[in-house]
């Protein structure tokens, strides 16, 4: 069991694929088909390109505040790839690529950051909860989904996300305790990207790792190299299997780095050195994954170039479609609060419609 071997209290961190793209733990290399590996890579690359372009669109005034994911693709796709179709994903707000892998369309994901609630309405067969902005709350939802799965005998596992900063919220601790007490089939992923806006991980908590917080709740915890898609995959896979067997929750800390700003409103030069960013750029998950795929003979520079171009076009086209959605129809801002609109809301809606009509005339 990985969680036994990689004890967070001893700061043992799981790495399978190192930053040069070589396998450092041959026995742990997950057996993944070529197709699966390429699918993972493609979604990571799509996430990366969509992210870079998302920032550009924002700078051009075409997108609103945008949460930047650059550098965290392995911590997202490695997890999502280990899930089964019947499993649930309960995100925070920085899991763009995980959402894409689990079946959110690029248009939907963009639409949300474009300022339209429809971007949170995923397709019927996609089990993803909407992006959650209030840090910590999502973890308890995940626990409840897991409890329901257990009570109803559904055999579904829940994967949920939080950031390093989020581990300071009360709800983080309440959720871990709840999940442990109810033996809920939940996998908690902490994306430790080293910052909560300007506040560094080193000041957020006195513990050596975030993974070791699991110990206080009596559940397994493991720290993995979050820029290594194989390590993230392997740890998540094991945790999901454990949960599915009825052996309860796991806490996984994926140590990664936010290469971009916190959001497009943030100026990271206030709180971190370029040198630090450069050092982490060398650990880029995409570079090491590409090297790995190439060394296996699954991928080539030429194919990569072609894919880059295709995805860039796809992203641009998708965003153009998003821009065509325009404004939200008036009715939509009223009608989703209740199954049936209560009289006072009907009145407010009708009155405002009449007003709009009158001032138009």
């Amino acid at each position: 069991m990985l969680t036994k071997k990689y004890d967070p209290l001893k700061r043992k961190k799981l790495t399978i694929l190192d930053e040069t793209g070589s396998i450092v733990e041959k026995t742990l290399e997950p057996e993944l088909s070529k197709d699966k590996l390429l699918e993972m890579y493609k979604v990571m690359l799509l996430g990366r390109i969509a992210d870079i372009k998302g920032v550009q669109f924002q700078r051009q005034g075409r997108m609103l505040t945008y949460v930047i994911n650059k550098g965290q693709e392995a911590a997202q796709v490695g997890v999502a790839a280990a899930m089964e179709k019947r499993d649930w994903l309960v995100p925070g707000f920085r899991e763009f690529s995980a959402l894409l892998y689990r079946g959110a369309t690029l248009e939907q994901s963009y639409l949300y950051w474009y300022g339209n609630e429809l971007g949170s309405k995923f397709n019927d067969d996609v089990k993803i909860l909407p992006v959650n902005i209030t840090i910590g709350a999502q973890l308890n939802h995940a626990v409840g989904i897991g409890m329901a799965s257990d009570i109803l005998g559904k055999d579904e596992v829940v994967v949920t996300y939080i950031g390093d900063g989020g581990t300071s919220e009360g709800e983080f601790h309440e959720a871990l305790n709840f999940a442990a007490v109810f033996n809920a089939p939940v996998v908690f992923i902490i994306q430790n990207n080293h910052y909560a806006i300007s506040f560094p991980r080193s000041k957020q908590t006195k513990t050596l790792t975030l993974a070791q917080k699991a110990i206080a709740y009596g559940i397994p915890g493991i720290q993995v190299d979050g820029n290594d898609p194989l390590a993230v995959y392997a740890a998540t896979k094991e945790a999901i299997e454990r949960a599915r067997k009825g052996d309860g929750p796991t806490l996984i800390e994926a140590e990664t780095y936010r290469l971009g700003a916190h959001t497009t409103s943030d100026d990271p030069t206030i709180y971190r050195e370029d040198k630090e960013v450069e050092a982490w750029s060398k650990k880029d998950p995409l570079i090491r994954f590409k090297t790995y795929l190439t060394s296996k003979g699954y991928w080539s520079d030429k194919e990569d170039e072609k894919l880059n171009e295709e995805l860039a076009d796809y992203v641009t086209e998708s965003f153009k479609k998003v821009e065509k959605t325009g404004l939200i129809p008036l009715e939509d801002i009223f009608k989703y609060h209740f199954a049936e609109m209560p009289p006072h809301l009907v009145e407010q809606y009708e009155e405002y419609k009449a007003y709009l009509q009158e001032v138009k005339e």
Binding site: G115, S168, G326
Partner: protein, 325 residues
Amino acid sequence: MATLNNIQAINQTLAEQMEKDPKVVVYGEDVGHEGGVFRATVGLQKKFGSKRCFDTPVSEAGLVGAGVGMAVNGLKPVAEIQFSGFMLPAFNQIVAHVSRMRNRSRGKYNVPMVIRMPYGGGIRALEHHSESQEALFGHIPGLKVVIPSTPYDTKGLLTSAIQDPDPVIFMEPKRIYRAFKQEVPDEEFTIPIGKAKVVKSGTDITVVAWGAMVREVQKAIKTLEEEGISVELIDLRTISPIDQTTIIESVQKTGRFLVVHEAVRSFGPGAELIALVNQHAFLSLEAPPSRLTGFDIIVPLDKGEHHYLINPQRIIYEIKKIIKF
């Protein structure tokens, strides 16, 4: 006298009060090193050190709860909640403890703490970044709730809030943080909490607003005056306790009343004000006292937010309706 915007006025006031009173501590998420996501606390940590101005972990219950303790033990905490939408994890502390310590201990302990928070819409933000929750706080016995609308008022009211012996929720209309500048005296001055301001006197109708809505009403007034309608505009400044006298006297004079607020309608501050007018100025009324408010809906994301926000055109429409009644 310097010309400041609202953010600069906050910054200057905090620096001034920290200078004057070593018990004042300023803290919150990203408040120390970065100087706050809106830069309200820029330079304070450098100037006063990290025991007087500091960052906290991401934990609103922690930072407000610890504020209660700091206050009980002799400090004057000025806590920042990054956005009012994120005060909810601290709501238990605010409602169950910040507001109650004085009464619970029969005056032995008080909580002279200020909780600052940007609030309100109009900045095209993500979910939970646009709400107006003043009614939630106004409903709590033991809390004072203050909302400035200009840099001058920001300084005077924040100074009063920090010096107040009781807890003050200081809500900052973020949409006008940098919208305009105004001359603000360099030296300390206070504006009393619980006192509204007659921004402009008029004879046909009393309009009460606060925060970002004051400017919207002012824009509406320009058009209305050209059409011969004389509006008396009152900036409420303090949501709780309400300045009853200023409002009642005004309505007794004008005979008409409109409250404009960005917050949702039901159980909002508008209802409270209309009740006040009905109770104390009923016989002066020439039309039913009225409210123009946000709809009873969740503030929509950007592509629907324009429907929610109140603009001068709607204010003009509403005022004319009341005048025509």
